[in-house]
Symmetry: C2
Subunit: 203 residues, 2 copies
Amino acid sequence: MEKGILLILSAPSGTGKTTVRDALLEELPGLRKAITTTTRPSRPGEIDGKDYFFLGVDEFKKKLEEGRFLEHAVIYGNYYGSGKDYIESELSAGRDVILVVDAQGARSIKMTDISAVFIYLLPPSLKELRRRLEGRKTDSADVIEKRFSQAQKEMAYMDEYDYCIICRDVEGTVEDIKAIIRAEKCRVERNPEIIKTIEGDEK
Amino acid sequence: MEKGILLILSAPSGTGKTTVRDALLEELPGLRKAITTTTRPSRPGEIDGKDYFFLGVDEFKKKLEEGRFLEHAVIYGNYYGSGKDYIESELSAGRDVILVVDAQGARSIKMTDISAVFIYLLPPSLKELRRRLEGRKTDSADVIEKRFSQAQKEMAYMDEYDYCIICRDVEGTVEDIKAIIRAEKCRVERNPEIIKTIEGDEK
């Protein structure tokens, strides 16, 4: 059984990473979403166990101490973490997993021994990023400003990623990521048994 | 102007690399074929300046001394070489170039300072490879045997390539290579100016 690929997707808030991820999940039946565990309150419409695992702070800390997270972070006072067990079992079953995290989280994953493909999405322009953040209407002006300045800081980490995509539209970005997945599956280091496969028939 | 990508395509004879390359050239208008220069006699239907540049041995050697080849080899007593000028001017103009060479040629290119993406095609099985070599009917039994044993030797070099594809059918292989080209264009190291691009609009 060929192992799945773990895709790490980062982007400044407002770039459209969640929309892109959801479109990918819809198009690729072999792709799974890594569900983030968080202590932040759920937003209207969010479903526990689907959008996030919502957990109390104490429970989160307990899991953290047990080493059950691939990475974790505290953002705006809330804990976020990516549970190891689910991701590893999906990869072992040959399914690809997509995990949306910030640059800090991506960096933590890079320091583990888990192999992953790191993709960074960029907004078409800073002007457009600000427009998208403002258009969301779920955040206060203060939070928008915070996110905007955080976005600019995050972009400095782009060099630590394997791929970067300017997210002009969802369709094009989805096609880029589908191409990345297809290409990555052809990488020589992911196919150590390939020569044996084609020799098998001759013996 | 973003530089084009140089694709190096290798495969044992009989894998279908020429068919795959020609299908790619047909589908991708931004892709150019690196025309090989050779001293071997032309086969029926081959056109000078399109399929190959056919050159006399003395002329070939002169160009070789002038350093005008990216790589060259002597195969079955004939010289083969990839002219530098054409490839570099196409890449600079933002076009991708595909070059079909054997493992030895690929290795020579790797030792130059030109950046390239190395793709190795494999036959579905050794049995199928032998069948395809025999089916071609342009070579003697002796040459077929030589090519078959050469093919097995060549596969040992696969680890030096970036990507490997089992060529089960032309369509699937073409889609794999199109994905590789699309993915490679998203690689962070190919986009050093990307942050400046999106910042440009704000200033």
